[in-house]
Structure formats: C-alpha cells, structure tokens
C-alpha cells in the first residue's frame, strides 16, 4: 500500500472558532492507482491533498506513506520524502515567471543535486513526452493555460515520483485544454504513475479508476470503475 490514512482528522482555528476540515478519514491507495477526490467547495478536498502531499500536518490520526508513519516526522524529514517521492500539479499552475519552460521543469532536479548533463537528458525526455520541446525557451507568460499546465505536469514528473498529486488541475482551463491535460495524466497512470486528483467536476473525476466523494470533511462514498 502506498498511502494509508487511519482516522485522519484536520482541524483549524479561525478567529477562535474551531473548524473540522477533515473528520476521521480512512483511505488506502495502492501503487499505480488513479484516485479522484470529488466534493463541493469547502468540503476539505484540498486540505486532504495537502496532508497527503505532506505540505500540511494532521491534527490527529495516522498517515502512512510507503510504509513510513509520517505523523511523527520533523519538517526536514517530511520535505525530503516529498522531494524524492511526490510531484504536485496546481490549479493555478504555480510556475516561476522568471524561469523558462526548460528551467521550470529542471528546477526539482537542481534541488535534488542532479548533475547538469543528467538534468539535460531527463528534461528533454520529459519535454518530448509532454510535447513541449518547441516551447523550451518560452516563459510562462508567453504560454496558454493548457501549455502552462503541461509544463507544471512535466515539472511534477521530472524526478519520477511515486505519487502525483493534482489539485484542480483543470480548474483554470477551457474544456479542450482540460481534456488534453486529463489525457496526459491518464497516459502517465497507464505507464505506472500513482495519481491522486482533487476536483469538484464529476466529468474530470471520471478519468480516475476510483472516486472518493467528500462532503463536510467525511468520505461519504467510494466508487470503483
């Protein structure tokens, strides 16, 4: 099992009020799964994704990633696991405007201290896979939304992560580019990538093999395709 959560709960204090974003979530995700988490705005989808991505911590419960109990790890250890094993795709792409397409994709490898030649090889490989070779020297502001998201996906998969986490990856795209991005993610899954995707759109969620329905911080249903 790649991911397992046991009674995972997340609470926030906002202006002295306690809000329970996630309430006793129990999840199991195997390597190679393509999982969607669907729900309306404010149901806790992004909070769950952030915890699975070790960007945020649980309030209680357990999160086991690749047989490692993560709740007791310190920030440095969590950052290391994240760096080595996970790739992120965001709704607003979150590319760095001062870096070109090539440089944006290359960045995770720099942080993992890959040598220049190795980086070059992998980046060109990924750019080919994501059909970005012709945009190598472009800057994000010169690309369409769909192209930017492809760059974000390329960056997410450059270090061959065990897990890809996508938070509303098509939220800022029109239907044509949204379909393009989802097909790319599906192809990646077919090649063995484990994907957890969060969305509020059912037609996007349908690309996954397993769909969790989240409402008010609880998993209310699970659909297997």
């Amino acid at each position: 099992m790649l991911i397992e959560t046991i009674n995972l709960t997340k609470k926030y204090i906002v202006n002295e009020f306690e809000i329970t974003a996630l309430n006793n979530i129990n999840l199991s995700i195997k390597t190679g799964d393509f999982v969607s988490i669907i729900g309306p705005s404010g149901c806790g989808k992004s909070s769950l994704l952030n915890i699975l991505g070790m960007i945020d911590r649980t309030s209680s419960g357990n999160y086991i990633f690749d047989d490692i109990e993560t709740t007791s790890l310190n920030e440095k250890q969590r950052a290391n696991i994240r760096k080595m094993n996970m790739g992120f795709v965001f709704q607003s792409f979150n590319l760095i405007d001062e870096l070109s397409v090539y440089e944006n994709i290359e960045l995770p490898l720099i942080y993992q201290k890959f040598k220049e030649k190795q980086r070059e090889e992998r980046v060109f490989q990924i750019m080919e896979k994501t059909q970005l070779l012709s945009k190598k020297d472009f800057f994000p502001q010169q690309l369409s939304g769909g192209q930017q998201q492809r760059v974000a996906i390329a960056r997410a998969i450059i270090s061959d992560p065990k897990l890809i986490l996508a938070d509303e990856p098509t939220g800022n795209l029109d239907s044509f580019h949204a379909k393009e991005v989802m097909e790319l993610l599906s192809r990646l899954n077919e090649n063995g990538a484990t994907i957890v995707l969060v969305t509020h759109a059912s037609h996007i969620a349908d690309f996954a093999h397993r769909i969790y329905n989240l409402f008010d911080g609880k998993i209310i249903s699970e659909k297997i395709k």
Binding site: S46, N50, G53, I55, D56, K76, A79, R82, K83, F88, F90, N94, L95, I96, D97, E98, L99, E103, E106, L107, P108, I110, Y111, Q112, K113, R155, S159
Partner: protein
C-alpha cells in the same frame, strides 16, 4: 545550482524594476558617501606619516601657567634644540629648528619681479636628516644645505621663478637685499603635512636678518623637532628634559616655576595639536569620529532601506518561495538565493559607487580643500578587494530578509492565507522609525552647526571688524619711519584712522612677561598682550570703561602706559578703579595702567576671555621692530575700491612696488572658521543624502503598502469614503511613524550638540526652533511621499481595484 540562482536573481531584479532601482540608488548613495568619508579620514590620518622616520620624530613644546594664565606654545626658544642635542646625545639623533620670524609672508625678488611668499622657513641644515624622503631633482640632501645664504625650493616654485631655465645655482633676493643661492630643488612635497613649505633657507642666515641671540631663553619663535633613537622612551626623555632644564634651575630663575616641556609625536600634530603658535591651524580628530559616525549612519540607513524594501516586496514573491519549497527547496536554498540577489545588487552598487566617487572627487576636493587622488589607493589596495567587500556587504544587508523570507510555509502560501502583513509588521515599522530618527537627528545637527558657524562669523566680538583693513608692513621701507607712512595713509580721503600692531585683533597675540609686587613679594605674570600704538583703541572702536585711552602726544608717560581688560582686573583681584595707576615691570621698564577696556575677543571664539594687555609702542624705538601690521579704518561712506587703490599707490611709492599684502579683518576672522564652515557644509551634504535615502526608502515602502490596500480602498469607496478619507487613511500610519522618529531624534541630537558646542567658549543657545523645523520637515516629507502614491489610488475607479484583486 549557482548558475540557476544567478539567472533567477538577475531576472527577478529586472522584473521588480522599481524595487531594484530604489535599492540600487540608495545603496549607491550610501556606499559613495561612506567612501568619501573614508577617503577624507584616510587622508587626514596620513598627515606626516610619509616620513620614513615619523615614529621617531617629536616636536618639543613649552607650557607655562601661572594661576590659570600662561601659554601652551608649539614654539620654543632658539637655544633649546642645540642644548637638548648636547645633553641627550644618546637619545637624540638630530635636532632641527624651523623659524619664520613670526611673519606670514616675506618678499622674494627674482630679477625685477617681486613676490610675496608665505611658505618660507629658515631651518637647520639637519632638516633632511630629520625629515628624510624629500626627492631632490637638483642638488642633494647631504651637501646642498651646508652654507649660509643657501636655500632649497620646490619644483613648482622653481618653474614659477625660472620658467625657461634651471633654478639651481641662481640667486634670489630676500627682501630685496639679502641674496640667497638656490642650492637644491625638490619635488613638491605631499600636501598631507602640518608643515607646508616651498622655500627652506639655511638657519644661519637668520643672523643677517634679525638681532639673533643664540642664548635667548625668553623669546620662543621657533619650532623644534627631535629625531629620537629607535629605543628611546619619549616619556622618560621628557622627564629627563624637565629635570635638566627646569627642575635643576628653578631656584636660580623664578620664572621657570610652572614651566614644562612636552614631547609631542609628529603624527599627532595635525589632528591633536591646538597649541598657541602652531605653524598652521590644525584639524581635530573629534571631527573625524563624527564624520565616520555620519558615514556609518548613512550606510545603515541604506542597509535598513534594503531590508525593509526586500521584506515588503517579498509578498510579491511568496508564490515563488512556496512553490520552490513544495518542489524540493529547503530553507538554506531559499536563503542562498536571496543572499545571491543581495550580493549581486551590492556588487553592482559598489562598482557604480566607485565610478561615482571617481567622478565627483574633484568637487569633493574643492569642498574639503584637499588633494585626494583615488588612484593613490589603488596602489596600496588592489581593486580586486572590492569583490569580497561587496560580497560581505550583500551578506550583511541580505541576511535578515533572506532568513525572513525563507521561513514562508508552503501550505500558507498555497492556501493564499499568507501575506507579508503590510499594516501589521512592527519590525519594519521599527526600521522606518529608526531610519527617520537618524535622518532627523542629522538634520537638526546640521541646522545648528550652520547656525553656530553663522554666529561665529557675525557675533559681536567687542570691536568693529567691518571696513577694517590690515596690511602687512614688516619691511625696512615702512619700518624705518612708520609714522611717515601712517600719515600718508591718513591723508587719503575716506580713511578714518590708522593704527599699528604686532598681531591681528581677534586672531592672535603674544605673551609678555610682567612682574608685580605684592607685600614686598615679586609675582611673575605671563599675560597675553599685543604691542600697539596710541590710535589702537580708537581704530578698533574699543570701549574704555575706566581711566583713559593712550595720550596722543609722544611723552615718556605715553609710552610707558598700558591698557588692560576687565578680565585682567578681575584676575588681579582689583576693581576697575583700583586698577588705574597700578603698574607692572617688564623688560621695557615700569608700565603703568592708565585705562581699563571692555573685554573683546582677542582670539577666535574657541577661547574664553582672558586677561589681556595693550602695550603701546612709541618709545623706546627698539620696539618698532615688533610692528607687523597697519590697521586702517575706512569711513562708512567712502568708496572702498577707490580707497584701496589709493592705499596701493601710496604703498608702491613708499616700498618701490613691493607686492602689497592686505586683508580685511572681517575676512581674516571668517578664515579662522574655515574648517567649521567646511565641516558644516560636509555635514549638510551628508544629511541631505541621508534624507534622500530615507525618503526613497519611504517611497518604495509607501508604494508597496498602498498597493496592498487597493482592494480595501475599492471597498471603502463603494461604501462612501471621500478622497480626503482615503488620503488620511493611507498617510496616517506614516505620519505617526515620523512623529515617533522625532521622539527618538530630539534627545540624541540635543546631547550630541551639547557635547559639540562645548569646544567653543562662545556658542549659540540650543533653541527649540531647529527641532520643530525638523519635525515639520519629516512630517511634510512623509505627507508628500504618501500623497504622491495615494492620489492615483484614491481617484481610481473602485471596480477596477476589486477586479485587480
């Protein structure tokens, strides 16, 4: 990784142009100002250190003090130097005496051309043993100076006198009568010396000019320098000198009571010596400390700007930092990246600053009256050193913001809950308050320094200094019959009165030895005094408050009386009435007090009033040789230029066209405060730079904070806020910061000024006005800056503001 960081840094800097431009300008101004301060200070502390032996060269000074009145003289007697060489041959390698007859300028005639030279000195022939390192272009230091009537001149003077031929071997005339042979020409010495000369005449020539007594232990007109052995201990030697020359002889000569010799290191003269009869007016090391502090303050203000602007603008980069952390950057990577940016900025700023300094150096030299060459420093400090300096500067300035930014948590960024709280950052507000308070304090100090300089130049010094012309008359043509020339001058229309004196009023004086008797006991006095004639009081407009002025006739009584000031009367424990008729004895006989005059400032205003005597010189005739100046009072309604021209004509007739040296007393007095004037201007410029840097920083900060409030302003406008409401909202915070900064600045400025003004016996009172002006200025500055940025937003269509958000 470094390559990526460098790429990213350059592009970020180019992207955030306003932030980069403001930061660069502030850093350049701060670094350039600091470099100028460093250059000035380096130049000042280098004085006299170009002599190889400077550590072993000492000047001997003589002090005496009788009940608080006396002299701390940089000059000593003729026999002292040779006597020290004789008595302490194991400690003293060589001695050199320097003498200029206590006259600033002498006439040199080259063929038919006549020049007034004010850098002529008579020196012992061991001069080049003590002060080695002069480069001879012609002649040599071992043989050129052996004979009487020999002289050595500088290259520039040689070119002036003999533009088309060699100067060596040529003859020039001293005072049109005494031939001097040029036996050596030296390269122009560095300006960084307390002793600036262009002609050195062999000491033995003095006998041909004055009535020289090698054993005269009373008159102290020459500066005496000793070259000591390497292992000589100056403290011990000083004590030995005191014992041998004073302590062992006190019983025989009562005048030696309270007499001390002091050894002063050569390197200390320029910055630490403010004795009577200095060769030239020296600088003050205290001013260097103040300038260094000012320089650091400006650098600090620029650095604080950098920190504040970087942190404020970081909110635009929160996304970038959050993403990097998500995709694998650790804290040190983020720190490293921001440090790289700040190092790049500081390298560029430093390089541009060096260019700015090089460009502006001629103007700075003019302002500071220096001859600093930046290239001199390149020889000692390789230019490559600026790289580590720039890196260090970047690291120091960038460390705090880098660590601050690196702590952004990705989850907060991604949830968009994070923002650099523009309106709640106490740290940045403290920086702004600190910056503004430094600027305000410097500004207050500058205003009061200017006012003090103005006070020094304009305050009533006890005599009328306007339209009072001094001409130098120490030459045979005039002094053979001074009254004849005086009458010639008096015959000119527009001349009110003329008098003679040996020192210029308000500038300098001598010290005369007097004795009085009390209960059959002889009491020694050394009173400051000038030798004058009967028209001195009238010409200067002094006020006689008891007794009478000098008699106008030539009777014996007229020549044997003295006038004393209130301070002397108080010192002697008399009343003004009691003083009249009292007498002192001096080398010229018994001198009776016939009048008491109101105190006037006999020296620049650093010195308080002290006992003072006006000593008439009419008879005996041998006192005439003391006369150096005529003081000429020009009528108020007379045309000054016409009168000056007529004086020149009379002079030319009387002296056979000798160059006339004249100066108005008001100008001469102003020149006493040149260094204060200069420093005041430098402080003023530095304070202006500090204010500009702080204002630019405030501008950047205001821009950013106001932009952050765009949404809030849009909402307020929709809810009914007026233009005035918006402006008030945006500027209120900055106005409070500027008011708080004044709270810090006022006491700091006050205590500093109290300390500064203590060096003047006469100074202005520190009033509230400059403080209030500074307060109003800082508030006005903040209002103008925030208004400049707020107006656009205040007029903005609120819908656009919300859409922007």
């Amino acid at each position: 990784m470094l390559k990526t960081f460098l790429k990213l840094s350059f592009r970020s800097l180019l992207r955030y142009k306003e932030y980069t431009a403001i930061n660069m300008i502030c850093l350049i101004m701060g670094i350039s100002s600091f470099l100028f301060v460093l250059l000035y200070i380096t130049d000042e502390i280098s004085y006299d250190r170009h002599f190889k032996n400077y550590r072993q060269i000492y000047r001997i000074n003589q002090y005496f003090n009788v009940n608080g009145v006396g002299e701390k003289a940089a000059s000593t007697t003729f026999p002292l130097g040779p006597e020290l060489k004789k008595l302490f041959e194991n400690e003293v390698i060589s001695v050199v005496r320097v003498f200029n007859n206590q006259i600033n300028s002498r006439m040199i005639q080259v063929d038919h051309k006549k020049y007034n030279e004010n850098k002529l000195f008579f020196v012992d022939d061991h001069f080049f043993t003590v002060f080695s390192d002069f480069e001879f272009i012609a002649g040599n230091k071992d043989t050129s100076f052996k004979n009487a009537n020999s002289c050595i001149i500088t290259e520039s003077l040689a070119k002036k006198y003999f533009p088309n031929e060699e100067a060596i071997g040529k003859t020039i005339l001293y005072e049109s009568s005494l031939p001097l042979t040029i036996t050596g020409v030296i390269k122009v010495p560095p300006k960084q010396t307390h002793f600036d000369f262009n002609i050195l005449v062999n000491f033995s020539t003095i006998k041909m000019i004055i009535d020289y007594h090698s054993n005269n232990w009373t008159w102290n007109p020459c500066w005496t320098y000793l070259l000591l052995t390497e292992n000589c201990q100056p403290d011990k030697l000083e004590k030995s000198i005191q014992k041998a020359l004073i302590d062992d002889r006190k019983e025989k000569d009562i005048s030696l009571e309270n007499f001390h010799y002091k050894l002063q290191p050569l390197k200390d003269i320029h910055l630490k010596s403010h004795l009577d009869y200095e060769i030239t007016k020296n600088s003050d090391i205290k001013n260097l400390f103040i300038m260094l502090i000012l320089g650091f303050i400006i650098l600090l203000i620029a650095g604080l700007n950098f920190i504040n602007l970087t942190i404020s603008f970081s909110a635009s980069r929160e996304k970038e930092i959050g993403i990097k952390k998500v995709i694998g950057a650790n804290k040190s990577g983020i720190v490293y990246q921001f440090l790289t940016e700040s190092v790049i900025l500081s390298i560029f700023a430093l390089i541009i600053s060096l260019a700015v300094v090089e460009l502006l150096l001629p103007y700075f030299n003019q302002l500071a009256e220096k001859d600093i060459r930046f290239s001199n420093y390149y020889q000692h400090y390789p230019i490559i050193l600026i790289i580590p300096v720039a890196i260090l500067t970047g690291i120091i300035a960038g460390t705090f913001p880098a660590f601050y930014l690196a702590r952004f948590e990705p989850v907060e960024v991604l949830r968009k809950r994070f923002s650099v709280k523009a309106n709640k950052s106490y740290g940045r507000k403290i920086f702004v308050i600190f910056q503004l308070s430094l600027c305000t304090a410097i500004f207050i100090v500058s205003i009061i320094t200017f006012r003090q300089v103005h006070f020094l130049k304009t305050t009533d010094i006890g005599f009328n200094k306007e339209r009072l012309l001094a001409i130098s008359v120490y030459n045979k043509s005039i002094l053979s019959d001074p009254d004849k020339f005086k009458n010639e001058i008096l015959s000119i229309d527009g001349i009110k009165s003329v008098t003679k004196c040996d020192y210029l009023p308000g500038i300098d004086h001598n010290t005369h030895h007097f004795k009085s008797r009390r209960n059959n006991e002889i009491i020694e006095h050394f009173f400051p005094a000038v030798i004058v004639d009967k028209d001195f009081v009238k010409t200067l407009g002094l006020q006689i408050i008891e007794g009478r002025d000098y008699l106008s006739d030539d009777s014996i009584e007229a020549s044997n009386c003295i006038l004393v000031n209130e301070e002397l009367v108080k010192f002697m424990g008399w009343t003004n009435k009691e003083a009249i008729g009292k007498s002192f004895s001096s080398v010229w006989g018994n001198e009776k007090i016939t009048g008491v005059f109101k105190n006037y400032n006999v020296r620049p205003l650093y010195q308080p009033y002290s006992p003072f005597i006006l000593d008439i010189t009419q008879i005996p005739i041998d006192r005439i040789s003391f006369i150096k100046y005529f003081l000429i009072r020009i009528e108020d309604q007379a045309n000054q230029a016409t009168v000056l021209s007529k004086i020149k004509n009379k002079w030319d007739e009387a002296t056979n066209n000798r160059p006339l040296e004249s100066i108005f007393i008001s100008e001469a007095l102003d020149m006493q405060y040149l260094s204060e004037d200069r420093l005041g201007k430098i402080y003023g410029i530095l304070s202006l730079i500090a204010i500009i840097i702080a204002a630019l920083g405030l501008l950047g900060l205001a821009s950013y904070i106001i932009q952050q409030k765009t949404k809030e302003i849009g909402i307020r406008k929709i809810l009914g806020a007026s233009f005035g409401n918006i402006i008030y909202l945006l500027s209120k915070e900055f106005i409070i910061l500027s008011l708080l900064s004044n709270l810090l600045a006022w006491p700091a400025a006050y205590f500093f000024l109290k300390y500064q003004l203590k060096e003047f016996a006469f100074s202005i009172n520190i009033t509230l006005a400059p403080f209030v002006i500074a307060l109003l200025l800082t508030v006005l500055l903040t209002i103008v800056i925030t208004l400049h940025r707020s107006v656009k937003i205040a007029y903005h269509n609120p819908v656009k503001s919300l859409r922007y958000e």
